[in-house]
Symmetry: none
Subunit: 216 residues, 4 copies
DNA sequence: CATGAATGAGTATTCATTCAT
DNA sequence: CATGAATGAATACTCATTCAT
């Protein structure tokens, strides 16, 4: 369940001969896109922020859109990575006997990830409605990897009697919506008001648990 | 609880001497903004779509941003209107004795509203993270009107024993997140896959009810 | 056989609401393109030369290429116009009984036209090899109008015994090549050396006459 | 009268330590310039086509313009070479007693040369109007070598009574214009229509012969 | 009230060229 | 000798906005 390494390194992992300037471009783009939005950010702005010439951006990324996709594809993978990873089984089999323990572990893990990569997550959420290709990447990853895996997991807990017997996909959707919904409300819609993160996360977990608990 | 009138009329209600062209501009702007996003939409595009001259837009709306705000402010009011309305009391006192009945009524009502005004809602969600002033309008409306009102309502049901005893704001947030989270997931993030709306909405209601039910 | 009116007016004839700025843009574009070539001329250069903002060019002409075509299409028509015109028949029937008289009239007329519109002709010759669509316009006009007409004329003179009995198209091609070839050599390839225009034109006419004369 | 060797080798003859890459650059530049024109061709395009790094071009040719001149100077020499060569005298003295035989030999020879080097010829014709220095090279070569030589030849045939008594330069110009005019019409202006090369060349020769024949 | 010509700053992207490796 | 990262000026074109008609 390790995505402790910097996502910046992960983004650049696929490319070879990564230069210092390239890192700066990526960092600047993430900052700028998340602050002003993709469309409202100019490449000259990114260049200035990164301390490189504007042409340098286009040496590494054919278009502005290409730069966006090169940022977000790894984000998508990372976002769903832990669900997919082999060692996630341990979580299931060994320690997390109860659904509560499991949920708590997942929420903690993903919340930390989001908090560490809030800018990239914000960009992803903002841009996904406007880019068909981005949605396709997203759906591909989720459809092929995540739902299959989560179905197994939910079935496991349903059988154990920890979870209500509704279609797994709906259960997953309700849980995910609650978790990410909190993040969206907190960081995108109402970032200006005070939030007691710890308490709200705990309440969200309780809410999901109760919402998915089998009727006694 | 009536917002049956067209929101287009509502948007134009404040302005005087509303011309036919003005209506077309508003309609065109809503369509364009929701499809491509505010920043990625040009005023000339809106003009073309509306069938008016470029200058005409600026006769009615000082800037492009002004046009956005003129669209979204009424949307914000409308979005929270039913909660605020006087006749909402009747809902409370008379028919909706149980929290379930209340929730069902509210969800049904707001879902219909969102479905009718999905484009505007999409714009609101998309743009709110980038416009401080928009957020301020939003917070003002919510803070001053909605939460006070909802606190009363939640207290009412808490006292009745229908709802868990957690801070009303959190309860409200969890419910709202579930409802709007569904809408965002369905229309913004994953519009391409098939959704069984009726079933998902019912499950969402059950989920909220169970999530907020007092521990027996 | 009149194309005495300014070609600038002719170029702008098709467009409505022609503004002063538009005329200046056309004039500047002709000058710039003929001096430096289409590809080597920047739109900012044209704007400066025309004394307008760069955006103004694109209000009237969607692209730089569009501007080129809007210049050259009328040039193509004008270039072949006299051959096509009704009153050209008079030339044939009445005054120009001999091929020599006819040739002399045509050469004089087209030479004057080229001298008056040398810049546009230069642009046409320079750009035609690089633009398929331009060649299509050219071929269409020539194929449909010119060759049919000239075939009739040449047949007329062949029958009279003024002209050698070879395929009319070849005869026409040889004559045209001689005339335009002179212009190209004189203005495009070797503009720097001295030319005795009058003498060379006379020799060219004699050359064509002798070259096309029937073998006695 | 031999220019049988590849012109590519001739272009590179002057330079020392010619590498494989250099040959590829030259070949790529010829192809690209002739297809899109000098100004519209980018150095990166040439580099890609040649399979070399962008910098490599500039190692061998200081500027893009330098590359153009390095291509065209040999073309100019080659174009006029046979006229200048010593062994051309044999042509004159021995076999080609009549002007017709001489003309036929020259036309055949130059046509073959043009057909083999059509790309370079196209570039030369296209670029000469825009580059003073190129024109100077051209004029220098022609003035110093060609016209002197051709004057002698024409005088020879004039004296023999094969050729009309007009200024040699004009006669030469008329002949050259006819030959190259054919090539320009055929390859640059109207490459899209069908041409019966053999027949047209024969007619062109006949046309020149008749056009320059002394009046009986 | 509506138009659309005009603008100049700004857009993403390409350019020829340099230079450290 | 060859590379390709880096540049900054230039490119064609778009933008939101103004204003005379």
């Amino acid at each position: 369940m390790s995505d402790q390494e910097n996502i910046l390194d992960f983004i650049l992992k696929d490319e070879d001969n990564v230069t210092e300037k390239q890192k700066k471009i990526i960092a600047a783009a993430i900052e700028a896109f998340s602050e002003k939005g993709f469309a409202a950010t100019s490449t000259s702005e990114i260049a200035k922020k990164a301390g490189v010439a504007e042409g340098t951006i286009f040496r590494h990324y054919k278009t502005k859109k290409d730069l966006l996709l090169k940022l977000l594809s790894p984000m998508v993978s990372k976002l769903i990575a832990p669900i997919v990873l082999k060692d996630f089984n341990k979580v299931l089999d060994a320690e997390h006997h109860s659904f509560e323990e499991f949920l708590r572990a997942v929420v903690k893990n993903r919340m930390e990830f989001l908090q560490k990569n809030d800018a990239l997550f914000k960009i992803l959420i903002q841009e996904i409605p406007f880019h068909q290709d981005l949605r396709e990447i997203f759906i591909d990853q989720i459809a092929s990897k995540v739902f299959k895996r989560l179905n197994e997991i939910m079935d496991f807990y349903k059988e154990k009697g920890d979870v209500l017997d509704i279609p797994s996909m709906s259960a997953v959707r309700l849980a995910i919506t609650s978790i990410f919904g909190y993040f969206i409300a907190r960081h995108l819609i109402l970032p200006d008001i005070h939030w007691d993160d710890e308490a709200e996360i705990e309440r969200t977990i309780q809410f999901i648990l109760a919402g998915l608990a089998p009727k006694s």
